[in-house]
Symmetry: C2
Subunit: 546 residues, 2 copies
């Protein structure tokens, strides 16, 4: 601290002051708030994706593990945060940030978020949330209806019923998927005779009682990693998640799915759940849900749909049929913080049967008493914030037709991007967009021509070099900070199912223009052509082979 | 909609507009923001705890399950929220709301929360969080050091190491406890010879391989309900959580703990973890952690400490010794959204050994690639918001000595409240405060005198009536809305271990005055004495018995 500078001090009075409502807006806090708002507007208005700086450099500013013995003034610390943190965070709201599912937010959510935080409700119980409890139940009802389209009577009967729940709100898709499989496991291995149920006695006794040698969860090889994580957490083991091959459109092969179910059943492995994917994380494709539902019914197992990404598509009358069959699912995961444009931390799962959640019900003496409407008796999490309010506000302010426009334009933008990639001689479109995701890579036209006539082994060798070039382009582009696409590794049928590295694009931001998409390609060509290592190596390889 | 009123409309332009930064502060959104801030300040400054209204009344305003087909103006919807939701939410920040662990927030966190939400970082990976990743790692380092007090070298080596983690940030204490037990389970049942480990093969194979008949988690009968929930989720079963009796100070009886460990071991049940409680939810007491650590070492099991509430006490040099022995725990849960005064949604668990989390490590192709520093490879949740920033800011602005003042005054206020309860002839102090929690009940002096000389059965009958009176007082007081204490049911040694209903008080709000505490008692006496049912019944009972 510089000599002569006034230092912040710790006293009971100063501690009381930070909890006392400041006189707005000319107070110090009012001024700081204005400065934060301006800085935030500047940050959000800056159309770069990141100011590149090596992580190891940034770590130097977050190095000490001691908790400060000296308090900081709010204004000084705010400046510190703006300087060291905000300026070096990622512009997820930039229209040229098209690499991940985290996107821009409608601006009306910012003051509403402040309201939500300021109220500091705890949704675990009515005593700390009051009206937020029926609000959250209504949001779950709306999302349930979006999926299942039950009658008014149905919602009137169950939406606010103490012993039922149409779903569970949670922090995100991983917890939603975990909750769904937890419910599935506990319902399948329920109490029976002397056996008190898996919830009470655990899996070891449950499998012994029911006489199964194991359980299995079947999902396409495009399933999200949270499913393996859930299987691990639930005690089933990651290996119980069985990946079924996909077709050329990244959709599960239902013939193979049914055959595997039969094989497992024959081997005394009980199929716990079939999981359909509605919007694969890497390519945005949707499984044939109706066919999967039929298989689930045949094998009398749970049918879960992971629609963390694609669930929002149900808001589009034009495209909701892409998810046909979802209404037959026993449970569906939807992330409001993805294409419903709600801030991070808003996932949910809905259950077809309002009684399903009884399988995970729990009570305590001081809250969640039997017969109460406390939300916490049917959620994995305990204390939780009132995020449901932001979903509620978005559903009302944007409305279904507004969401439809957002979703339709995103899909159509992806189709446009696919078209210009296909038409560009130096790019190879790897997966066609079904929703607003696609993958592609840079492959010079002469290499493409060469590979079309080459054998599998030659192409494998070439793909190894193209992978290095793809990684180089993606990293260089990210580091330049003008735009961002992500990269992933997926199997490509035309290369014999070999995994190749691709650029991955998610076109959720409504402000992303066609011009930006052209610019992204132009920049990638420039990076590729200035590559002093990988492009020459690649060209040499086809020269050598010629 | 009233005729003639301008209606909000859906168009691509209007949809783009909601994502475009408004010109502050004279824009419509600027005005709405100002109105929200003023309303929030009014709400937070209103020292009632709730405007009572029957939940069934409120539900009528949250009844439909249809997603609106017509968009709402932000201003109209904001008024709707202020009218129907905010005015009927719970004043958790009121100084007379002393019934739960959800309390007031320092006001500087409100603009910072808006900043956090606006940046919409996703902490699952560096590509969507950049500087937030080292910041979160530093916060985990600070909290780790608060517990374990390792050297500078230790933190320099591990805090930012890609393949290590000092802990996991999460939405709350339940996920923190679950994560700790997940790590414990996977480390105990690790790969061994042909067995690929419980994470891969699941519990059924794991128990067969290791030859155990079951696993057990031992915790005092005051343990939080999230432990049973975790045992259920993890496939161990709720019955694997074994409740050990507590002494008159609500602390686990270590003799019985050790004896039970031995008995289980003799019966081929492997003790997975002993869980110490540092701040029981109901009474705020702390287990003898050092003694428990010794028992855990003897039985070679994991030692977890659930310090969701009490962990913040480590910030007080005066009181941190109450948690002596916590530094021997393998893992510790602390909720920053409890007595660290951070908004809802900020829990964490720290691990003594930076390599522990390897047991739950997972990777994917598009993120969390091996060797990356992505936080998501060691967390139960996937996508997560940047809440760590609010903990970071609070640690800097309040500082350790500031927290010490807050914690010390809370404990001392609880001691004061205990004193006036003890001195009041009509109240019975049921549990003494060790931290800032206590429990008590209203029992007229002549009833107290009578019970002192009565036999167990007579007292049991009386306690049944007192329970009804306690419930009546608590509900009436809550409904009146001036102040709020919660109620719970706990075993009381002097009544032969019978469970009785008690008022439960958490004195975390720094603005709660001694006057408020006196008023709470005065109101309770008034409610009791105007009881036309339970008090007369009680007095009649001792009259009859005389």
């Amino acid at each position: 601290m510089t000599a002569g500078k006034r230092a912040a001090e710790v006293s009971l009075e100063s501690m009381h002051r930070i909890f006392t409502i400041p006189e707005a807006p000319d107070s110090t806090l009012g001024r700081i708030e204005k400065e934060i708002s301006e800085n935030l507007a500047g940050f959000l208005g800056n159309h770069i994706v990141a100011t590149e700086q090596a992580l190891t450099e940034i770590e130097k500013d977050f190095a000490g593990a001691s908790i400060p013995e000296q308090p900081a003034f709010v204004s000084d610390h705010t400046h510190h945060l703006l300087d060291k943190l905000v300026s070096r965070s990622v512009h997820t709201s930039s229209p040229s940030f098209i690499g991940h599912m985290t996107s821009a937010l409608p601006h009306f959510l910012l003051p509403l978020s402040k309201l939500m935080v300021g109220l500091n409700q705890n949704l675990v119980k009515i005593e700390t949330s009051k009206a937020f409890t029926p609000l959250e139940r209504q949001v779950l009802g709306m999302m349930h209806r979006l999926v299942y389209r039950d009658s008014d009577d149905f919602y009137q009967s169950w939406m606010h019923s103490a012993n039922h729940s149409l779903g569970a709100f949670c922090s995100g898709g991983t917890v939603a998927n975990l909750t769904a499989l937890w419910v599935a496991r506990n319902n399948m291995l329920k109490a029976d005779g002397d056996f008190k149920g898996v919830a009470r006695e655990g899996l070891f006794n449950a499998l012994k009682h029911y006489g199964y040698d194991g359980l299995a969860i079947l999902v396409s090889d495009r399933g999200h990693y949270s499913l393996k994580k859930s299987a691990d957490v639930l005690g089933l083991g990651q290996d119980s998640v069985i990946a079924i091959p996909t077709d050329e459109y990244n959709r599960i092969d239902c013939m193979q799915l049914a055959a595997k179910c039969q094989e497992l059943t024959d081997n005394n492995i009980r199929v716990l759940s079939i999981v359909g994917v509605a919007g694969t994380t890497e390519t945005g494709n949707i499984d044939p849900l109706a066919d999967m539902a039929a298989i689930a019914q045949q094998f009398k197992c749970h049918f879960h749909v992971d629609a963390a990404w694609g669930g929002a598509t149900l808001l589009s009358n034009k495209y909701r049929d892409l998810l046909a069959g979802i209404e037959q699912a026993d449970s569906v995961t939807i992330d409001a913080h993805k294409q419903m444009y709600v801030p991070m931390g808003a996932g949910l799962v809905v259950f077809k049967n309002p009684s399903s959640v009884a399988a995970i019900e729990h009570h305590a003496e001081y809250i969640l008493r039997k017969g109460s409407k406390d939300l916490g008796s049917h959620t994995l999490e305990g204390s939780r914030p009132g995020m449901a309010m932001l979903v509620y506000a978005s559903l009302h302010i944007i409305s279904r037709p507004g969401y439809e426009l957002l979703i339709n334009q995103a899909i159509e933008k992806a189709k446009y991007f696919a078209k210009i990639i296909r038409e560009h001689s130096e790019f190879e479109l790897v997966t066609e967009p079904e929703l607003c995701l696609l993958t592609y890579r840079y492959v010079p036209s002469q290499v493409q021509a060469f590979m079309a006539g080459a054998d599998v082994e030659t192409n494998q060798a070439l793909n190894k070099v193209i992978d290095k070039l793809t990684k180089h382009i993606q990293k260089t582009q990210r580091e330049a900070g003008k735009s961002f696409v992500s990269r992933t590794r997926i199997e490509v049928q035309k290369y014999g199912g070999e995994k190749v590295l691709v650029f991955r694009v998610v076109l959720a931001n409504p402000l992303t223009t066609e011009e930006i998409l052209h610019d992204v390609l132009t920049e990638q060509v420039e990076v590729a052509q200035s590559s002093i290592k990988f492009l020459p190596e690649l060209l040499a390889k086809i020269g050598n082979s010629n």
